[in-house]
């Protein structure tokens, strides 16, 4: 049981890194990256291939983040003028293309067979203690990332970024370099996804294109939304809630009598989805709502969202 909790805790850390990246790009920067899982895969493959070529792990991980960041910045630059919903479809498609490339470029990625035997740091030396070591390592990284992001968000950069998120035109008029801020936010988000992917690859020792499917992106979006999409603490809490939900439903669904295996599995996925909907209804702003974070440039003004067309959602409750 303990080893299971250690494992689940490590996966929660991996989800947290992805969620922190999403909070940075989406929550703080207003950039919808529905192709998150593509950058996770990019990082995982970069790190696995470099490690296979004999490079030490710390280089692999830095390279994984750097490659994901570079590709993220390049993609963001190409689509710099697109509206939010268009950015969503472009990033979603981009992740799908990356998965296609991973599947078909067998000379590099071994195709859908996947890459096996990715080495884990110090695993041979640590033996049974490896799981604990990796858990601590993952969460130390989550802590460092959260600390740095927190510092960034409080800095003038963070305020300028939120100004861009809330109203690009106002921010531009105020002399902010909108493009540079967007590229930085998107790049940091992509880098964290890549780092998360690298951590995952070396933890489970196996990756394949099928690992990086949109379901994971959806899970992370739900985690971040549940946690409160603008808040770093929300990202971590949301990730913990997500993994608790994913794993707890396993035990609970099996207790329902009189169902066959398919029905139990369906019930489990149903429960996951419905719980997320319920949480969103009870706490539409997530566990940690937007607070104490004035951009200084109109964040307090509830205006139309520049990133999402010019139309607010139809308010039918009144």
């Amino acid at each position: 049981m303990i080893s299971y909790l250690i494992f689940v805790g490590t996966i929660a850390g991996f989800y947290s890194l992805l969620s922190l990246g999403l909070v940075k790009a989406w929550g703080q920067g207003g950039l919808v990256n529905l192709g998150l899982v593509g950058f996770v895969g990019l990082g995982a493959y970069t790190s696995a291939l470099l490690s296979g070529a004999g490079y030490p792990i710390w280089i692999d991980w830095i390279a994984a983040s750097a490659v994901s960041a570079a590709v993220g910045v390049a993609l963001c630059f190409v689509v710099r003028n697109l509206r939010g919903d268009y950015l969503a479809i472009v990033t979603l498609g981009f992740a799908e293309i990356l998965r296609l490339a991973e599947t078909n470029e067998k000379w590099l990625t071994k195709g859908s067979d996947g890459i096996s035997g990715i080495v884990a740091p110090l695993k041979n030396h640590l033996g049974d203690n490896f799981a604990v070591f990796y858990l601590v390592l993952t969460w130390v990284l989550v802590g460092i990332v959260a600390f740095v992001l927190n510092w960034l968000l409080r800095s003038p950069f963070g305020r300028a970024l939120r100004a861009v998120r809330d109203d690009e035109q106002v921010a531009a008029v105020a002399g902010k370099s909108v493009l540079r801020l967007k590229l930085q936010a998107f790049g940091i988000g992509a880098a964290l996804s890549g780092l998360g992917g690298a951590l995952y690859a070396h933890f489970t020792s196996y990756i394949a294109p099928d690992v990086f499917i949109t379901q994971l992106t959806i899970y992370i979006f739900l985690a971040v939304t549940v946690g409160g999409y603008t808040r770093l603490a929300g990202a971590v809490i949301g990730s913990l809630a997500l993994i608790a939900l994913l794993e707890a439903t396993r035990f609970v669904a099996a207790l329902v009598p009189g169902l066959d295996a398919v029905q139990i599995a369906s019930l489990r996925e149903f429960a996951i989805a419905v719980t997320l909907i319920l949480v969103m209804q009870l706490r539409p702003d997530g566990a940690f709502r937007m607070s104490n974070e004035r951009s200084g440039l109109g964040a307090s003004r509830p205006g139309p969202d520049a990133c999402y067309g010019k139309k607010a959602v139809l308010d039918d409750g009144t």
Partner: protein, 295 residues
């Protein structure tokens, strides 16, 4: 070569016709309610299952099957929208559209699980004969598939007439343009939202039934296609009804023509590049200027 080109064009239109109706539904709902309702995927599957049940247990022919698919998907769409999504829309903020969109993905997952719970994971075939294709001037054309295009275009025209000629249609356009203004004029937004959802999801349901007659129905019928549907709708401008149909057809055609230059395993790449290029050339979508629900 020219025959090849024409053949692929026809094949592309056939693929596009399959996603045109769901894309139309997605666009209609976005126009009136202001968010991308991804649960259109699950309603598409609902229409497919409803049609399949009507056809295999009641032995109904095509037209009643499509009517049932429309009604079931539309009704389920409204009910689930009221239960799952409407409470989240109550306190609108800048990010509400995206929040509702994310939750609509969860709603879609929940419905897909419910179908799997009820019907299992297997693929189910309609009890309808499959016609061999006809050859016209060396080009292979499927008559059944041709009907799909006709139905898609016909419904798009009907919708366009509804919006430009009827009082209710004009009211919906008013809401789409400005909800506050509409309220001042005494139009009740909830009713119109429900109507838009009913029609939009109903269209997805008809599309799902047609798709399932063409292929088969299983719990993932809709979610397998949602990316392509979303892409068609986006290329069409997200708020233009004719744009949605044209965007869907365009996605189909570009995908098939791509087979001429790329290995088939990279077919999605052509669609992606096409979206990217059209959006970069016209950041509002190709049909942003066309008439639709919103001008």
């Amino acid at each position: 070569m020219l025959t090849d080109l024409l053949q692929y064009l026809v094949n592309g239109l056939i693929v596009g016709a399959l996603i045109a109706l769901p894309a139309l539904g997605l666009t209609l709902i976005f126009s009136v309610l202001g968010f991308v309702n991804f649960s259109v995927a699950a309603q598409l599957t609902a229409g497919a299952y409803a049609g399949w049940l009507a056809n295999t247990t009641l032995h109904l022919p095509l037209v009643p099957v499509l009517v049932i698919a429309f009604s079931v998907a539309g009704a389920l769409g409204v009910v689930t929208d009221r239960i799952a999504l409407a409470p989240i829309r109550r306190k609108p903020s800048a990010q509400t559209p995206l929040m509702v969109a994310v939750v609509s993905i969860a709603l879609s997952m929940a419905l897909e699980s419910a179908y799997r719970f009820s019907f299992g994971s297997g693929l189910n075939s309609f009890d309808m004969p499959i016609a061999r294709d006809m050859k016209i001037g060396g080009i292979r054309i499927g008559l059944q598939q041709l009907h799909n295009i006709e139905i898609a275009i016909g419904l798009a025209v009907l919708l366009a007439l509804f919006f430009s000629l009827t009082k209710l249609g004009k009211a919906m356009r008013a809401v789409a343009d400005n909800a506050d203004l509409a309220r001042l004029k005494g139009i009740e937004p909830v009713r119109l939202a429900n109507l838009a959802t009913f029609i939009g999801m109903g269209l997805a349901g008809v599309g799902g039934a047609l798709l399932a007659i063409d292929t088969s129905v299983d719990p993932s019928t809709g979610s397998r296609l949602i990316l392509l549907i979303f892409a068609g709708s986006v290329v069409g401008g997200l708020t233009s009804l004719p744009g949605a149909v044209a965007g869907a057809l365009l996605m189909g055609v570009i995908g098939e023509l791509g087979l001429l230059i790329l290995p088939p395993v990279y077919q999605s790449l052509t669609a992606f590049v096409a979206i990217l290029i059209t959006l970069l050339a016209r950041p509002g979508g190709i049909f942003s200027g066309a008439s639709g629900v919103r001008k």
